[in-house]
Subunit: 678 residues, 2 copies
């Protein structure tokens, strides 16, 4: 029976005393962070917001597999502070310009004995939150570092409600969001969204996940959330010094919408490494997809095969007629006919099926200004895909296919890695270190061919689109396909959950706009018609699908007009109102015109939201083209009740948005000639 | 955007329908277990108690690193039921005879496609709970199995309170128990104790942890507790078929005391593999230990060195004078003088320090019937210890040292493994697969030398003492030493927590009986004098220390008499009352006489407990030698207020036990000549 400490240290453990050794605050002073070293030489940080504790004493440190634990006997060697204020431009995005304004503290810690190993804790504090990361300098006592666990904590100091999805389950990220007291969080994926009892909104996530294991958060005692890195072997993370961890991020906002307007995650990523990326232009697309989930067509060849030359021509014609740049075709290549789910190694990423004339279709599309969108489902045979991807991208580049949707359909922890051809196949987690590198290898290879990547069943988004702007979108949540066959389908609150949780990480290819409002076997989608339109504004992505079948759009041409008009690239974004999981209204200004667009979605409740139009440009009159729920609309009883109307407005006006149960509203604001009337 | 299932399976996922394919009940019918297979071919079990759901649908399955997930597409191939009713004898323990009465169901599942991999789910249902384990038969499609996660769930179907300590923290097991709503459990070590709102007591743990990773429990959504195996590499568990997992155990009792009286964990272990183990006899010991924690002596050599020849002789004399068989000496061997905590590889397990004459002391002890108790602190250099242990045990065996306390003092996850001399040192978790095998290698090597092992900072106890009866005790919780230097020290409720949590796993070497009631620098121990005596009955171990200094016992000879009298081996055990974390009264009958002993402990509350003496043998009169709190006793103000009194009693009597705040009571019942008066 012995303490966990040598006697020499025991003596000093009696007092719980800790000294604050360094501190840093946000430019506006509202957020203050302090670093402590206690008598054992253990590190902790704490965060206050407007002078009140928000994150209590939270430990920092590591358990290593190839070395002693790195968490005690540490002392501050030096600290350096600096500030930065600048503005950078997004090649595409929710806004054009991003202000990057922070105060930085670098605190260098060294072990006071043993091998005097060292690392820095770097804090960047912005007005909208902070990032914390560990930086390991090159040092003789630590070359290869095998991290068994990172002990970073987030000790939430106020009672709070949490919105979260579980980690380490058999599925990946495709869960409905749970809304529970913080105390009832189990092991959660990030981002996790919290709202304190006194109304402060917090999102915990990470930025710049590169060559490291994704961080999940496990609730320990009290309300301590602790990092739980995604497993890998021989350790969760294996790196050589020098290296940095990803940024552990804490976004803080008074309004729920403040989290959505925050650029913290992007600001904590490295600048564009790809140079000129003007070869990617945000756009909308249609494609052979919804029919596959309806099971009226199949990925596999045969009588139901969707990806035929004739069917694809039909989609190209439809796209050309209605102004969509892209046509996605799934099931176009060889490998779908077996049990691809069990064996992704059968996929051939350069070989079309016999009934699909890729070359001719690419040429046919080009003649009409339509680009095919490539599809690379891997079935999680990631190493198999890596061996073929360069040839596959070369083929696509030659054919003008400049956007590719990748897929990693398999259960959690089943990403198949094979380091050398013929070596053993081992499984990795979707959020593990190996897969974080795999995704970047794919994105960089695609960039060399001027191809953009839209990854499904992906590793989570941590803002890497700033550094790799051809990584345009991801899935990584429950998408529209669950409305085709999900049990249950997505509930009315789903969009209002996604906006304030998954979407905080980055763009999501949700594939909105199913105006037929029915899934497989006629299962109703829990949405009104207008809400499907609002999704295009509310759920940001630089590549947006019109997911429904052409024949369905022909039946709803009036509503379809909004989908045709709405852009996929923005100058600016404002969240006008919203509560996590309940409702949200977002206004965005087109990047390529003076038009503004508004989208509002509700949950299962009917609501009337009074919206000030003061986001509109001063001195201008706008024609507001309104797509709203009909007066009797209700997702359960009258989902198709829908009204399109127009009226003239200026920034002085207030609009009362009436949202039906499961409803929404979409508005396009078109500037009118001449000045606003007084 | 794609489902997690191939289309072929998608079709059948729409209904959530599941079929019950097998079921089994306890001999008394109170506990019923059902196995389900749903439309996806996923397995689940559920448990009802007295007809009401206790554990809801809980998934079963595995995520593998070197193969596809093993959790879907399964079908029942066959099921076999059998029953067993027998009684076996414990060579030492809380009771002499154990009834083993259960109904068993073996359900064999096979994948309906792919490689048709197979495993059995085996359920053994007793009247006091159940065990569930997976058995993997030898099969061509699965030879080496690398388990990345076991997905076993425990979906607690009723609101409940939980008593638990966290897993994956920097410390090992030495935490105060948290008492929270089940919903607020984070990631917990096992055993974890639950009490449902309607008063059912449940302990979740495991039995027969052999060549597998220890199971922790992480709370997922709702009240689902999910297995979280302790990490290792290349996977959490690496085995070859055929193999079995440990038993996942669910103890169920109406009274808190029912959990303590349960032999479920022992019944789910294999019978004694060591044959005649009469060479180990439970006993009590004193030793050079408390002074080290008081920091008045040191493990290291020098002026404060405790383990000197002269000082050890003083303890041998004291042991001989008062009838203690053993004398533990810590700091006797070479290796303590450096920073042993950082480098356990300096320990020499056969080389005494210069001021410690091991041979002479062993002979001196033998001349007085006293045996030295060996001490092997490894500092977690487990492989280093394995290389020396056979020589060390040979030495001890020759000197009559037949019990050894081992130690693994280091932070969590820092067990040092080196597969071949000179190879890299890698760290493993205390509860990981590698360490589960290390401990058994030590225990089996010790058995060959007729030596018993008392492991500190150990892997958790899972009942292996049935199979290896020389694995006599462990620490694995916050022990008495925290009263010397802990911040905070152990609170008054600590024993009432331990009895219903840690002690459910097996014997604990708590090292009770510090009658001086003071720690380092006079820090008060939060206990009355009588409570220190009660610990000997309440906290079961076959090896019990009188932990205080000889000179302190000389000052409390009246109370010390109970420590001299109380045995360490029992015929029978009864829990007379108790509530988790509040109080408990336990009666035990001496294995080697007709005496009964009673111990009662309270938390910070004063209580009067009316106790029926109907556990006493009928027709007998007993002299009750009572050691109780004085009327004004209170751990804060009058911890030494203490009364010893005697009275005659029979099983017809009811005693009112008055326990002070932080108090307790200890009673010895000695049969008197002649029949009980009527």
């Amino acid at each position: 029976m012995r303490s966990f400490l040598p006697l020499a240290l025991l003596v000093v453990t009696l007092p719980a005393h800790a000294d604050t050794v360094a501190s840093v605050a946000s430019p506006d002073g509202a957020i203050a962070v302090e670093l402590d070293v206690n008598a054992e030489g253990r590190l902790a940080y704490r965060v206050s917001h407007r002078g009140q504790p928000l994150i209590g004493d939270s430990r920092l440190g590591f358990i290593l597999r190839n070395g002693r634990q790195l968490l005690r006997g540490l002392q501050l060697e030096k600290q350096v502070s600096r500030s930065h204020d600048g503005t950078w431009e997004l090649p595409w995005g929710e806004r054009r310009f991003v202000r990057e304004h922070y105060n930085e503290l670098r605190a260098s810690f060294v072990e006071r004995d043993h091998d005097r190993r060292r690392f820095d804790v770097v804090l960047r504090v912005f007005d909208d939150g902070l990032g914390l990361r560990y930086e390991f300098p090159k040092q003789a006592a630590m070359d290869e570092v095998q991290i068994q666990e990172e002990l970073t904590e987030f000790a939430i100091a106020r009672p709070a409600t949490a919105w979260w999805i579980p980690a380490y389950e058999w599925n990946r990220e495709e869960y409905l969001y749970a809304r529970t007291p913080l105390a009832e969080v189990g092991v959660a994926q990030t981002p996790i969204t919290l709202r304190t009892a006194d109304g402060v909104h917090v999102s915990l996530h990470e930025a710049a996940l590169v060559d490291y294991a994704g961080m999940n958060l496990a609730k320990g005692e009290d309300n301590h959330l602790r990092a739980s890195l995604t497993p890998g072997s021989p350790a969760k993370v294996v790196r050589h010094t020098p290296f940095n961890t990803p940024w552990r991020t804490i976004q803080i906002a008074d309004r729920a919408g403040g989290l959505v307007e925050s650029s913290l995650i992007l600001n904590l990523n490295e600048p564009n490494k790809l140079g000129d990326v003007s070869w990617f232009k945000p756009h909308k697309y249609v494609g052979i997809w919804w029919s596959l989930h309806l099971d009226t067509q199949s990925w596999a060849t045969g009588p139901k095969h969707g990806a035929t030359t004739a069917e694809t021509k039909r989609y190209i014609d439809f796209a050309a007629q209605h102004g969509f740049r892209g046509v996605l075709v799934e099931g176009w290549n060889v490998g779908w006919d077996g049990d691809w789910f069990a064996n992704g190694w059968d996929f051939d990423f350069s070989k079309p099926t016999a009934d699909y004339d890729l070359e001719a279709l690419a040429a046919y599309g080009a003649s009409k200004g339509v680009h095919l969108i490539g599809h690379h489902e891997t079935g999680c045979a990631a190493s198999h895909y890596e061996r073929q991807m360069d040839a596959a991208f070369t083929l696509f580049e030659r054919l003008g296919v400049d956007a590719v949707k990748t897929g990693y359909v398999c259960d959690a922890g089943q990403i198949e890695r094979q380091d050398t051809a013929g070596g053993p196949v081992v499984r990795e987690w979707h959020e593990g270190q190996w897969n974080s590198n795999h995704h970047l290898r794919v994105v960089e290879a695609a960039a060399r061919h001027h191809i953009a990547i839209n990854a499904h069943e992906p590793i989570k988004d941590t803002g890497l689109r700033r550094t790799y702007p051809n990584w345009i979108a991801r899935e990584g949540a429950r998408g529209q396909e669950f409305n085709a066959w999900g049990n249950p389908p997505n509930p009315p609150e789903h969009e209002a959950n996604l906006v304030f949780t998954r979407l905080l990480a980055g763009p999501m290819d949700y594939t909105p706009g199913v105006l037929s409002l029915k899934g497989r076997g006629g299962q109703p989608i829990q949405s009104t018609l207008a809400k499907q339109l609002a999704q295009y504004v509310v759920l940001y992505s630089p590549i947006q699908m019109a997911a429904d079948l052409p024949e369905h759009y022909e039946q709803h041409l009036e509503a379809f007009q909004f989908i045709k008009d709405v852009p996929a690239d923005w100058q600016d974004t404002r969240v006008l109102n919203g509560e996590v999981g309940d409702f949200v209204t977002i206004a965005r200004k087109d990047r390529n015109s003076e038009d503004w667009y508004l989208g509002a979605v509700s949950d299962e409740q009917a609501r009337t939201l009074d919206v000030k139009l003061d986001f509109l440009d001063p001195g201008r009159r706008y024609l507001a083209q309104i797509y709203r729920d009909g007066d009797a609309a209700d997702w359960k009883t009258q989902p198709f009740a829908f009204v399109r109307q127009s009226r003239e407005v200026t920034r002085e006006n207030i609009l009362a948005l009436r949202l039906a149960p499961g409803g929404g509203q979409a508005i396009r604001f078109v500037p009118m000639a001449g000045p606003a009337k007084r």
